[in-house]
Symmetry: C2
Subunit: 393 residues, 2 copies
């Protein structure tokens, strides 16, 4: 986006690349570490910002250091994968993981006519997605010849017969691949903060308040390394996504400069595209809602993306979760070929406003035949959920 030189010249910001911060001395307000050629550095601060991000998880098992194994985090990671694809040596790829990044890579590789197998140890494709919606995603992947191997726990990666590698699972099944994408999730880069004794949040993320301050008020943290308050539960959560990371950076700058800042928190709103499908969520799943102490009820409906009189419509599935006790909307999920990505924002706003399902069911949403039925799928689902919540649990 911008070079270190540009930061220095245009903004007067002393950007030091190749400098690894290794320790924070909170008593002395100093950060120390190693610069280029191992030259040590030591810097004093009045305010410190930790923005160390998150890193892809790579299993500590044999063979993950082989050149055929790649993660998808940096631009350089992507360029290396692209170069490998362009060399023509990749006919078969195995993707470890079935999350957003894994799905996007599956699509990218299939579009380049690479044979793709996705593997994961657990049984569910997308455990956070309602089963009916997940079945649609499975159909989309299989319709594009992506082989799905759940219950495949990679014990190690070894040299393949001839070229490439072989992934061997704990049950000694084997899969051949020219390229292995490891996309099994990320973890916060919080060691520096933990070593300095700063409070940690869920999944060892760095705990911050609504002003993005850590447990030490002179030290801020922002980005994928930090937690956030969840607007539905009020509890700390670690859901590292771009908007929150970006928003947090601005909030730190504002707060350091003396502006009033109080971040509401996150609803866990997210979307990904896999082939022609849009998969979106916001708020809690049924399981998350139960765990957070709610008395959840859920419904799943299938509606149409356009009015029945309008050609070209497709199925849109909506899953809603509500709380029987308070009547509150707790979460929403949508899967469809059109509209899901933008439709999810309406329930996301409703979660921020702590609206009840009844209130959501009464909202005045836009209607025209090319864009949906007169009763928007969200309203249809809300009406169903009201009935479900009234039933004995």
């Amino acid at each position: 986006m911008r070079t270190a030189e540009a930061f220095r010249k245009k903004s007067g910001i002393d950007v030091r690349l190749g400098h690894r911060a290794e320790a924070i001395d909170i008593a002395k307000s100093h950060v120390s570490g190693g610069g280029p050629d191992g030259k040590p550095f030591d810097l004093a601060y009045d305010r410190l910002l930790i923005a160390t991000g998150a890193a892809p998880i790579v299993p500590r098992r044999p063979g993950f250091d082989r050149p055929e194994v790649a993660v998808v985090k940096t631009l350089e990671d992507a360029q290396a994968i692209k170069a490998r694809l362009q060399s023509g040596s990749v006919k078969r790829a195995v993707i470890m993981g079935m999350g957003y990044i894994a799905m996007e890579m599956a699509e990218a590789l299939r579009l380049r006519e690479v044979a793709v197998t996705m593997v994961k140890p657990r049984a569910e494709l997308l455990p956070w997605l309602d089963a009916e919606l997940a079945a649609t995603v499975r159909g989309e992947l299989e319709g594009h010849q992506v082989e799905l191997r759940t219950g495949f726990d990679v014990a190690g990666i070894e040299a393949g017969k001839g070229s490439g590698v072989a992934l061997v699972d704990t049950g000694s099944a084997s899969l051949a691949a020219d390229l292995v994408i490891v996309a099994v999730g990320v973890q916060p880069n919080s060691r520096l903060a933990a070593d300095a004794g700063l409070q940690l949040g869920p999944s060892r993320s760095i705990a911050v308040d609504r002003q993005m301050r850590t447990s030490n008020p002179a030290i801020y943290a922002a980005g994928d390394c930090t937690d956030a308050f969840h607007v539905v539960t009020g509890q700390r959560a670690w859901i590292p996504l771009a908007l929150r990371a970006n928003r947090a950076g601005w909030a730190v700058a504002d707060h350091v400069c003396g502006k009033e800042v109080s971040l509401q928190g996150i609803a866990g709103t997210a979307v990904f595209k896999v082939f022609d499908l849009q998969v979106a969520r916001t708020g809690l799943t049924l399981a998350e809602a139960a765990q957070a102490g709610f008395a959840p009820a859920g419904v799943t409906i299938a509606s149409s993306s356009r009015a029945h009189s309008h050609p070209g419509g497709s199925s849109l599935q909506v899953h809603l979760v509500g709380d029987r006790r308070s009547g509150r909307l707790l979460g929403a999920q949508m899967v469809g070929r059109e509209g899901a990505a933008h439709r999810i924002n309406a329930p996301a706003v409703a979660l921020h406003a702590a609206m009840t399902v009844e209130q959501v069911s009464q909202t005045d949403l836009a209607y025209a035949p090319p864009f949906g039925p007169a009763w928007d799928p969200l309203l249809v689902a809300a009406n169903q959920l009201i009935k479900k919540m009234q039933e004995a649990s």
Copy 2:
């Protein structure tokens, strides 16, 4: 959708087609009118529902009874227009009006290669739309060779030279046409209610409460003939659209059957498609906000429908209106080639929840590169509006 016979047989509902209700006798709880062959009828009721809808406005000026002149209200209207088009006699059409129906007809006619001119007496294309957004709509129409003649007030329609008709305006300019579509708005069919002494609302719609009861509690009204409470102003408004009409019908049935009903009201959310453009609105315009007693501020931004890194994005314009005094969001408008239709529902929900612009700016909206920038256009606009609202007015 369903025949009178089906209503009778399947639902036990005595549907009497060809019966025109002409008077309500409130003291006697009777409705009277004329049936087929002028045979009078007189029916007693315990509860009465008036669902008389709205009718297209046709100017009482010379020549509007000519066969070349059509309105677009019923299926029969549309079939008649279609038959005329299929006869091949329509080369030039004039559309009176520049609202939703007029726009949709302009597109439908251009797709059939009919030359189209749209006319209206006033100067603005879409007076309720922010000027920058309206300019985009104008560009879209003109890009599809639709001629726009604002300031053209049709005084009468007369026989044309050779075939077709000529529309003559009050300044005696003239336009030739083989087909004239009159789409200058609708009016509520409220005469029956007014004659019975029932209270009327804005634009002579039938005033109803949150249970859809008229000023006489035994008489309900629902559909395009009734008003509604506007969730932003709390005042009565007449904005006849499909969702409210449909929702009102269910509400009446529920209430008559003893269920608790209390309709929140409308936000005035609407969308139309014109060629490749989606034009959406919810809540109040700047002018409507000022008229309702708010101290409004407005901003207009242009963002991208996708992340900059993602190919195929297009411009998305967002106009937001907020109240300087309370900080509340009052209205939103969006114009773009993708996403506008569904994106409008997020601010619509925010209006129902009476959220401030600051609260909207903090919402956690979905992000993935194919569907928008990390900072959703709604958030970009909200951030701009916060600054604008803080400026001296």
